[in-house]
Symmetry: C2
Subunit: 107 residues, 2 copies
Amino acid sequence: MQHGHDMLFRALADPTRRAIFERLCRDGEQTVGALTAQAGVSQPAVSKHLGILKLAGLVRDRQSGRQTHYHAERAALAPLADWTGRMTGFWESRFDELEDLLTRMDQ
Amino acid sequence: MQHGHDMLFRALADPTRRAIFERLCRDGEQTVGALTAQAGVSQPAVSKHLGILKLAGLVRDRQSGRQTHYHAERAALAPLADWTGRMTGFWESRFDELEDLLTRMDQ
DNA sequence: CCTACTGATAACCGATCGGTTATCGGTTCG
DNA sequence: CGAACCGATAACCGATCGGTTATCAGTAGG
């Protein structure tokens, strides 16, 4: 039902996009060029994926000269963890803790 | 990259489908008719959604006379919880516990 | 300045998706 | 049996998606 939830699930549904996000989580901040080099698709495709991830709140970008650096916004995964927790029907307090932690990590 | 992961994320990306799964998690086993009554789409649409959820391992069905009863397969969410945990980079042992528990819940 | 580089946008294309209506197979009941 | 019911399948349609190539704006450097 939640529109925010929707964009989150939708953004992570595509394997190429998920791979980009995983890379940003693993290796930290990356330029568009660096991401393109390993994405297996063209630079405009990568830019579009990054735009979608950004709309979902999963990444944020920082301009520096003519390069754009993107980094993962891990806190955006909190609703996903929360949803999973609610579906399993257990761990509620446990996942709430996680959500709080992730929110605090975002400053 | 993982094909199983892919079907899981993909299956949960659609809001109608996710609502059906949520209902099965909340209220337990339901017939196709009962699910259709609240899905807001036609019966064939519901059947297709159930087919996709089934392929992703998220639901299982049980035949009884001329009715088909579907129920959520909560254990199928374990890879999702695991992935989230790996992306956050913490909680690894914690999520492994969850995965184990969910797997055991599946008998 | 002019050229080269980086990344975003535009325009377009085929494939897939989610939905519909129509229909069919299987089951129950009068 | 025959009629009614339940759910799956088929055939189709418009919209959206993920990809491409071409191009544009902004920045850096000779």
